[in-house]
Symmetry: C2
Subunit: 317 residues, 2 copies
């Protein structure tokens, strides 16, 4: 049995794959806060999955875990998973004695990229653009995840598209992430709420000027990320996922509208057919947990992630 987990800031999702790679079971539990609670959440999700599907812990061959934060490629050590209250956590080490299976850990965007590519079922080129608290992409070229030379492949969130734009946590101005990351946009909005981006969209619909500006900026920056991915890596498709895509069609419409508006002034951009090259993961897509399961089962060592460093993650803000 191959198991995959997506450990998110609020919930942990686990899937079990059949030998043919089909998802035969799926459970979802809240994620605890801090290293010990994260480990407990993982174990509880695996136990619930085993009970639901009806297999024993000893039937599990591999476990793959996708998690937000920097994952050291060699050790699987997780660093700076700030949304989980984790500064440093050796997940494989902590699971020794608890799970007999081989455990591998990967960055959640990389896991979701591999999962989204598997769900699409095509071997060509694709980018997965994660619009969450932060913004980053994973790139599939020739059917494989492109890791890059130093772990920054797909870090489009920190490309500046406006020298006079909002200050980013990374120290630059006008970064794509500063304009369309859920975290920075919520801070710019400055009002409390469980899902501030939805509040912004609601207020924008109701005519609030600040909300309209934030919503338009968010859509423009997400559209810019799509253009960067197509004009640099020339991927066939950009799949949108991440927390912000809980807004579904409301978000997609704004991004498509922004792509179209920019295209109006540029026949070159129009010729790229960008509006037709974006897809959004459906709400509740198991892409990240599926991708984690596939990474867990992958025998190649390169699947755990790039070569990002502790320092860089801290600096990216």
């Amino acid at each position: 049995m191959r198991v995959g987990l997506d450990v998110g800031g609020t919930k942990t999702e686990a899937v079990a794959l059949s030998p043919r790679g089909e998802i035969i079971g799926r459970v979802r539990r809240p994620t605890g806060w801090g290293s010990d609670a994260v480990i407990q959440s993982i174990l509880a999700a695996v136990a619930e999955l085993a009970e639901t599907v009806g297999f024993a812990a000893s039937d599990i061959e591999t476990v793959g875990i996708g998690i937000p934060g920097v994952v050291e490629p060699d050790t699987g050590q997780v660093l700076h998973a700030v949304n989980l209250g984790v500064e440093s956590l050796d997940i494989p080490g902590r699971l020794v004695g608890e799970l007999a299976a081989r455990v591998r850990v990967a960055n959640d965007v990389k896991a979701a990229t591999i999962g989204a590519a598997s769900l699409r079922g095509e071997a060509g080129s694709m980018a997965y653009l994660n619009l969450g608290t932060g913004v980053a992409a994973g790139i599939i070229l020739g059917g494989d995840l492109w890791h890059g030379a130093h772990g920054t492949a797909g870090e489009v969130g920190h490309i500046s598209v406006d020298p006079n734009g909002r200050l980013c946590g990374c120290g630059q101005r006008g970064c794509i992430e500063a304009l369309c990351g859920g975290g920075p946009v919520a801070r710019a909005w400055g009002r409390p709420g469980a899902f501030p981006i939805r509040d912004i969209f609601d207020a924008a619909d109701a005519g609030d000027a600040q909300a309209r500006e934030l919503r338009d900026g968010l859509a423009r920056a997400a559209a810019a990320a799509v253009r960067v991915l197509v004009l640099t890596a020339d991927v066939e498709v950009v799949v949108l996922g991440g927390g912000l895509t809980a807004l579904g069609e409301r978000l997609e419409r704004e991004i498509v509208e922004s792509l179209r508006r920019e295209g109006e002034g540029s026949a070159f951009l129009t010729s790229l057919r960008l509006c037709e090259r974006i897809e959004m993961l459906p709400a509740g897509s198991p892409a990240a947990a599926l991708g984690a399961a596939l990474i867990g089962a992958d025998r190649r060592t390169s699947a755990t992630g790039g070569h990002d460093t502790e320092e860089r993650a801290a600096l990216r803000g």
Copy 2:
């Protein structure tokens, strides 16, 4: 004998490769204007090369030709090579009867990318950033040129980095090419000269305010292109080439300075060590002709170029 040609706006360079891939001969001639003259320039360069090295035309097995413009991947048809006065030219067809060798044609930036990678002698990842009349890059991933899904891989020149920037020929504002392409920058300068970018650098050194603004904008945009390539494709090295690099260290210094200045405000950018990851082709590097020779000798059909279309090239401006 494998021959490669770089057909540029002013000169045509030809190289001959030994069976081991070493350049054993090299000639340079002016390029004629218009389709017929371009064909004559190619034939004259090959004849001069044969005479210089001492081989017969019948010894030539393959000819690769790098040329600015759009190259149809299947036919080798060249479209919109505006700097050569060529609207449409079937080079392989026109050389039938003149050369017995197999002829293949590729976009000059793609040829230079392959040539630069070969000269560097490493199989890893690399981008070649061509700073010429226009701005475009070629990307080597895992040792091979990445063609992309639709022929726009490396088209970083048309990524906008300033919504209020100069209008680009492609219809967008603030494109990297609008700010650091030799053509657009010379037009913004607006004074005649054989090498307007050198005039701008000279005038900037002499304190001219407009020239300083243009030079600084050029360096900033080239630096932005480097960041886009590293943050998206995460190539190990960005090699700078193209007509503007005739300025040599004067240009490199400005770009390095711009990268450093941006890095000052961002520890994240500093951690990427971008200043150490750029290299400039030496003046007179045979990269493009060498790359053309390698493409000519390559048996894989994908080596001629991407799948760019006539329409898109016309629109890019």
